[in-house]
Amino acid sequence: MIGIIDYGMGNLYSLSKALERLGYSYEFASQAERLPEYSGLILPGVGAFGDAIANIRELGLEQAIKGYATTGRPILGICLGMQLLFEKSAEHGENAGLGLLGGEVVRFRGDYKVPHMGWNQLIIKQKQPLLNGVQEGDYVYFVHSYHVLCQSDVLLATSDYHQEVTAIVNRDNVYGMQFHPEKSGETGMLLLRNFAVQCEGVLT
């Protein structure tokens, strides 16, 4: 059973339906004490970083998520959820994140359109089970105005939008996707399934 963390930020419906179609069971999880029951966690999210981390703290989820990460079971942050995994964000003043991964969140700046909105290609940096079946150049759907700067050793895939954009990250059991896999056609479904498979622990 996968727990989709519900902390009042964003569209959980599409994500839950995507898991349903893949044949994986899930629950919406907002109670900290229940997190240990799940075989994997997804931290979704759209909206502002500061509001999100405040909600997570208010619900007592910060320690619960950090504690969960130490158990070695998989956690996936999606979009803002991925950004929350890092140390800090510069969105509307500096806010500390969960710090499960090293790096920071900064705004896109330059003479180009922001948000980075639409379908962009994945550039694969490290081939890992999460990327099984995903090809270099496959398109996924991004929509974000802030992006993550981090060490290259956690980068599984990037994308190109006037600079290298962090797209998929991983360290140990902690995963993140800046784009929306639940909105990214067959490539997104493949990535979600690969994550779900890790949660079931059946990946060989």
Partner: protein
């Protein structure tokens, strides 16, 4: 590279697609969910539903359509029409829409853009602008489905919408809408250059070449069409194939 987007638009009234969509092989061409699936399978990059229901019942039906669509497709979709409050936005986004599109309500009360962007994030808020030419390189904002002139300048309104937190502009050239002679290139270019957020061009698509023109010369980030796709005059695949041969980056 970021791909240019091709977006079909469906007008929905009381839960049914209007403007008689003519597709071969669809069980029910009036079913928005089935059409959404078809377009998603054809590699549409996004979808837009415009709810033109006039009644409260019709609007409730739309929520049902949104839920079923979200459960059946894996591309983003936007819902517009009759959204007047944060509560309306919440209902639609919760049902599974990715973005909401504001038109008349935002002109009447621009703060609505800020309220929506603050609560749901700018990426959810599309501001739709209906523009009509009022002289050389000047366009006026129209509301209420293009019936009412507002006296507002389109470029200024687009910039104000961006400042209030809009994440995207859906720009319809009323002078070209339905004519199938091409998008409003000058209008689209001027708006796209005046704002720092993506612009979806709408109105006037009649051929594959028109998409090329608006995505290059017109500097649009995405192009929307309705009847040309609904009546199978061209397919999304065919438009994308053409764009690729011309060197425009699209998701194949």
């Amino acid at each position: 590279m970021l791909a240019k987007r091709i977006i079909p638009c469906l007008d929905v009234k009381d839960g049914r697609v209007v403007k008689g969509v003519q597709f071969v092989g669809l069980r029910d061409a009036g079913d928005p969910v089935e059409l959404a699936k078809k377009y998603s399978d054809e590699r549409a990059d996004e979808l837009i539903f415009l709810d033109i229901s006039a009644s409260h019942e019709g609007r409730k039906t739309m929520v049902d359509v949104i839920e079923k669509t979200a459960a059946n497709i894996t591309i983003p979709f936007t819902v517009g029409g009759g959204i007047n409050s944060v509560d309306d936005m919440k209902r639609i986004l919760r049902a599974g829409a990715d973005k909401i599109s504001l038109n008349t309500a935002a002109v009447l009360r621009p703060e609505l853009i800020r309220e929506g962007a603050t609560i749901f994030g700018s990426q959810c808020i599309v501001v739709a602008i209906d523009a009509r030419s009022v002289g050389e390189n000047r366009w006026e904002v129209y509301t209420h489905g293009g019936r009412n002139a507002t006296g507002r300048d389109v470029i200024h309104w687009a910039q104000e919408a961006e400042a209030l937190g809009a994440g995207e502009i859906l720009l319809t050239s009323m002078d070209d809408d339905g004519e199938k002679k091409g998008f409003g290139l000058e209008l689209t270019k001027r708006v796209s250059e005046a704002v720092g957020i993506p612009v979806i061009a709408s109105g006037g698509a009649g051929s594959r070449e028109h998409f090329y023109d608006v995505l290059t010369q017109g500097k649009a980030d995405a192009a929307l069409a309705a009847s040309i796709f609904h009546y199978d005059e061209t397919s999304i695949h065919s438009v994308k194939e053409y764009l690729q041969t011309k060197g425009v980056v699209v998701r194949p």
